[in-house]
Symmetry: C3
């Protein structure tokens, strides 16, 4: 089983302390980040930009809607050109495998900020960092994690489930019948668990009420209205999957309520002031994890 | 009557001297501004960005056309997410009241950069700062201010008229018959004047020639062609409301000619070299006033 | 004949060394660049932004699709407004002569980053800098330069041909019959050569094979499919104008292969690892030349 206190997370801890104390440092002074987004993702883009700025680096923001790609340039050439000016590239691209292709062409580091339905590794890392941080004993062993919402289409929860399979946890999948966790993800979770000897268990549920009082982490994701055949089906789901103050009233005293955001009604705003509402802290952790990643990737010593 | 030499303006004066001497300082080093524009406003956006950079801070520029708002996220959530990465938010939004709503959701400072037909307070502040700066004795008492152009639809002149009502000035409203100052603004001006005991007077005019030689400040605004029923009506207005060298020939020697810009013919370019043409100084003052505002809002001591 | 080791290039050399050693310096600390692009050009935009950042300056990025220009503002006013916040302007604009018009209105330096089919002077400068740098003896005298591709429509090769006419070179124009170098450019090359006493010669060709083994620099440009009447005509060109490993096998040992990029198949990726493939170095040189230009234009002493 992997230790939760990895080097990345230890560096992220130090980044958090540094930002609180002084806002920024000079670790990446003289370095430029090419922040390349072929599809809009304000939050991830801002998070990486802020991470670079708080390390004393500079940023070239690129929203590649109207550029050389339109002239027929390959992604590899685009990346190789940008690294003539920049020292590291962050890439968000709608095609699966694009980040790997970019990295293969590049001479300098490339960080995957999401490649379509492929991966979004920094999201998974910040999720795991947040879980570690929110759990009172900072250990996943023996914990129960509920994943809630659209488990069928959610890239975020697929990645997270596979990452959690490396730890001795019990997983609870909570989703409408038509949006349950796909079999291939469940198979993958089982395989990873077997490989790591973590004896992960998982159960499936259709309503929050079935798991609400018995989990240590409740990870809620967005349920998009357009995934449903009928309005009635969507309304039914809203009734049993929305987190309300009543949900929190029966939840464990130290439970962490998470959400990758944006939310569209899955968690009522009246829950925001509950100390267990961890989603804005989770969002903020994205900054520290990405700062740590940038510093490590750029080979900063003593970060 | 409010003193014109307010703290904000005193700080703005010092910002101007600092920029002239050294370009930037480190007052806001380590702080990040989220510069969020839900509608395009290049100038205001640039002005805030430059203000932050010249205080040593960094900027996350956000043009929210293609982002989480489209996914149905509330403005409050958008602001709360951004302040996970940034220390202060500047918001331009097409809806009245949006800035107040954002500030209510935020844990960190939010500055209103215009909320639709609501307010655009930093424009009013830079206008007042410029008037104070351009008047030879830096005092509004007893001065005559002409407001010229589309007074019916101009948010800028409405705000400015109400702000000026706090001082003992005479106002001259110069506009085509169909674009005169609305009654509700005139009522508000009268009410504010009564409250502050400033005995503000105002007169209404249809041509610049009626006021041109008798005002200390001439504040011209854009007259949009599409506001007129007929081409002939528009052409008639152009003839009596456009500032030309002839207008300046009869104007007071120390008059200040102002315009919030962009202009589309209301002031001829042949007037630009007249020392009384204050509109580019006015534009530049926007930088110093916004620097002062950012420094004060962020609690910089000794700024 | 102009010396190739001009002041600009000497400064660019020092910029390259500085970037390699420390990433950035503080030469333009406190200065802001308004990077104004009225048409998309990711590379040129990024190059100028990176240049300013590596000199310690700050950048206001402006993509003028949705701004005051739409409200009818003149380019001159736009520039004069921006320089209220910034210290130098870089302008890319689709209209010929726009950069000169902007410079005439401005009180601060304006750098032309391309004005439609007019000029793109920094591209020519980086091309010449790269040629000087790649040639083993850093001298153009007696050298043979092949210009390859769409010579009819390529602004880049027109400017470069006229610039090269100032040196004692032999030019080889290699293009499909319908895309040969226009007569007016050839006339201009002859006139410039006569004026500088450089006895420039030029020959015309239709296939790379005619020049491939006999040039010191091979400058390839993009051939756009839509320039051809028929698919067959386009395919024919591709066969005789594409640089392949076979092209390189017969090329001179010290030849420099250049391309302004983006490429769309004119140079195979299998050529990229050839040490004579200079196009990514050429791209990188754009950074150093633009840094030198910014420093000189801003009057930095001892740069």
């Amino acid at each position: 089983m992997l230790p939760l206190g990895s080097e990345l997370f230890a560096v992220a801890d130090r980044m958090r302390a540094m930002v609180a104390a002084q806002g920024k440092n000079d670790m990446l002074r003289g370095k430029i980040l090419a922040n390349v987004f072929f599809e809009a993702s304000t939050r991830t883009s801002c998070s990486f930009q802020a991470a670079m700025l708080r390390l004393g680096g500079d940023v070239l923001p690129l929203n590649e809607s109207g550029s050389s790609a339109k002239k027929g340039e390959t992604l590899g050439d685009t990346i190789r050109c940008l690294e003539c000016y920049a020292d590291v590239t962050v890439l968000r691209h709608p095609l699966v495998g694009s980040a790997a292709a970019a990295a293969a062409a590049a001479r300098k580091p490339v960080i995957n900020a999401g490649d379509g339905v492929g991966e979004h590794p920094t999201q998974s890392l910040l999720d795991l960092y947040t879980i570690r941080d929110e759990l009172p004993d900072h250990s996943l062993a023996g914990k129960t994690i509920a994943l809630v919402g659209d488990l069928k289409n959610g890239r975020t929860v697929h990645s997270l489930a596979m990452l959690l399979a490396k730890y001795a946890v019990a997983l609870q999948f909570v989703a409408p019948p038509s949006l349950q966790m796909p079999q291939h993800v469940k198979d993958e979770v089982a395989a990873i668990s077997a490989r790591h000897g973590t004896a992960v268990t998982f159960t499936e549920h259709e309503a929050l009420a079935e798991v609400g009082g018995a989990c240590d982490v409740m990870y809620v994701t967005r349920v998009q209205k357009e995934r449903f055949a009928t309005e009635a089906e969507y309304e039914a789901v809203k009734g049993v999957l929305v987190v309300t103050p009543a949900t929190m009233a029966v939840a464990r005293p130290a439970m962490a309520l998470m959400h990758p955001l944006p939310r569209v009604g899955e968690i009522l705003e009246s829950v925001d002031d509950d100390p267990r509402a961890a989603y804005f802290r989770q969002m903020e952790n994205g900054l520290y994890v990405r700062m740590a990643l940038l510093a490590l990737v750029m080979g900063v010593e003593g970060c």
